[in-house]
């Protein structure tokens, strides 16, 4: 049976793909569960130094209650606050902007699109230098707003992009019908377009949140201690002494910040895929 053969062949092909994807994830979990001695001693691990023989929660207590607490816990809060605020502002602004671009005819539309495009191509590291300078003058360096503002800019072009595609999928006639029914442009937007675009807006919000959550460049260069987010904090972890590597603590912290995002991805898998691909792939 030809089809049966392909079916099993494909199922077989999916195994290495999933292994390749999952091994580094499992590896990080495994490392976070190793005690300091297990990290240094291969004899205490199985599967070629992969999985610890006895599971230790030391690394987790280190980052939540131990020595790395003052670094990690505030960083987690900063990450959550900064990313949520930036995502909220960015998605609201982008929703309006994308609607206008997709739907309304007004002079200057092209300029906005080109700006969004340039911004998304602009190397973030190149933005850091002048911002670093400016933030010092404006006393925004190492503050939460000092990180929120660049994150808004970082996520805006992407959000405008994805949302424009979503808005274009909503049939035009829907709004025209609303207008004929007696709605103003604003009412048509609020009562008809916005509810229809809600899933798209939600998807965009998740993707924008990822982008901000993932950022390392801004966080590591525009903050020091008072506003540092998780990716930068991970990099400034130090071991218990100068000679021990903070490997276990970093992995434990990584697991902690990754779990919620992975759950988010698993829950909204279908929507995220639609959001990522709808804007980009069009005829």
């Amino acid at each position: 049976m030809e089809t049966n053969k392909t079916k099993w062949g494909l199922a077989g092909a999916s195994v290495p793909i999933m292994l390749w994807t999952l091994i580094p994830i499992v590896w990080i979990v495994a490392t976070s569960l190793k005690s300091t001695t297990a990290l240094a001693d291969q004899q205490q691990n199985v599967f070629g130094n992969f999985w610890p023989k006895s599971i230790s929660w030391d690394n987790y207590s280190l980052i939540f209650t131990g020595g790395a607490k003052d670094l990690f816990v505030p960083a987690l809060w900063h990450s959550i606050v900064v990313c949520l605020v930036a995502t909220l502002i960015s998605v609201v602004l982008a929703t309006f902007c994308a609607y206008a671009i997709a739907r309304l005819d007004f002079p200057g539309k092209k300029a906005i699109l080109i700006t969004a495009l340039t911004v998304s191509f602009f190397p973030v590291i190149a933005m850091v230098t002048p911002l670093f300078n400016l933030w010092r003058i404006l006393h925004l360096f190492d503050t939460l707003p000092g990180l929120i503002i660049p994150y808004i800019t970082l996520t805006l072009p992407l959000s405008i992009w994805i949302l424009s595609a979503f808005f274009q999928q909503i049939p035009w006639e829907m709004e025209q019908a609303a207008q004929v029914d007696g709605a103003s442009s604003w009412q048509a937007f609020v009562k008809v377009v916005a509810p229809l675009a809600a899933p798209g807006v939600f998807t965009t919000a998740i993707i924008a949140f990822f982008t901000a959550w993932n950022d390392f460049v801004f966080s590591s260069n525009l903050t020091a201690a008072r506003a540092q987010t998780v990716p930068a904090a991970l990099n400034s972890f130090t071991g218990a002494s100068q000679f021990t590597q903070p490997t276990g603590a970093i992995c434990a912290a990584a697991v902690v910040v990754t779990i919620p995002v992975v759950i988010l991805v698993l829950l909204f898998q279908r929507r995220i895929v639609a959001g990522l691909t709808s804007g980009a792939v069009k005829g």
Partner: protein, 426 residues
Amino acid sequence: MSSIELKNIVKKYGDGFPAVNDVSLNIADGEFMILVGPSGCGKSTLLRMVVGLEDITSGELDINGKRVNDLAPRDRNLAMVFQNYALYPHLTVFENIAFPLRLAKGKHSDNEIKEKVNTAADMLELREHLERKPANLSGGQRQRVAMGRAIVREADAFLFDEPLSNLDAKLRGQMRTEIARMQRRLGVTTLYVTHDQTEAMTLGDRVAVLKKGILQQCASPRELYEQPINLFVAGFIGSPPMNFLPARVEGNTLKMPIADVELTGELAEKVKGKNAVIVGLRPEHIKDASLGDNISHGVPFKAVVDVTEWLGNEQYAYIPFDSDPSLQGTLEELDRDLDGEGMRTQMVVNLDSRSRVREGQEADLVFDPSFMHVFDPESGDCLTRDDDRAAEIARDNEEQRKAALERAKSRESNAASQSAEPRQAS
């Protein structure tokens, strides 16, 4: 009471091409006006200008004598049914119909809205579907919801943009009568765009035929059929379409590929000096001579039938003929204007179903020359059009329309008083 008046309406797009050119129309209160024409004739653009979704380049649009050119759609108080119905997928049928009422904030109480929506739903037999979402409705039901939304608005006029084109043939017929019934019952001024000439003929009090943005003729269906103003209107109205035959003028004789016709009187005067004309003959005006139908002054001719289509109640026969090279260009252009496929030149004859004519047979046919339309090939004008007769048809049509509207109104008030009485009694 509402009338719509279009005065020299022009629509030009960026490239300067006029999509609608100098169209003037007068739609009386309660009248059912159809805009019809082949694709790209500007009929939808015209409708969208009336409703306010397109800007008017020049000209004036009056509703109830008030200029509305610059008003936003929501301020024009019109209701529109879109081609794909444009139902709001996130709202239930009830909320879809109530949408226009909810927009007018504070104008209607919740009870009022409920009553209005329920009345409309009853009229359209949507009562049991009110809580469903549009996605779960059939095509015909969606169509009715769109109409319900228009009804509750109590708009000055209804506008329809090809509302039946997404339905299958059977449903289309049903919805057509539904729309006609509703329009008469509500007596509301209606502007209806279609490319389907059957819809145009059956629904319209008057039909405006457009070609490339220019209004050709606006008249009652009967006048369009019997007294078309030019080649285009004659070819567009009627199904199967009118046959166009090239004819040479030799003295008082018209020499056609199938037969020669002697001309007398006025018509002979009109064709004098022309080399050739185009003769239009409706398929049903050609009869099977062998059936013995008596046609006085009929012109008999023999022709070989190529294909026949027997439909039970009638029969079509196709007769190929050689086109006149001097008129070929005109006829081909006409065919293109009518969205034709530029196929072989052939004549369609609508025969009685009793006829025994079959493929490849030479048939004895006959036609009455008084039913002939003669067109000037240069201008396309109809030379046989009888203006007095046309005016008579128009007068008659207008009277009938008013009478029908009156009847609908009295029936409505009767029904209202009848339904009110028992309620008072109980």
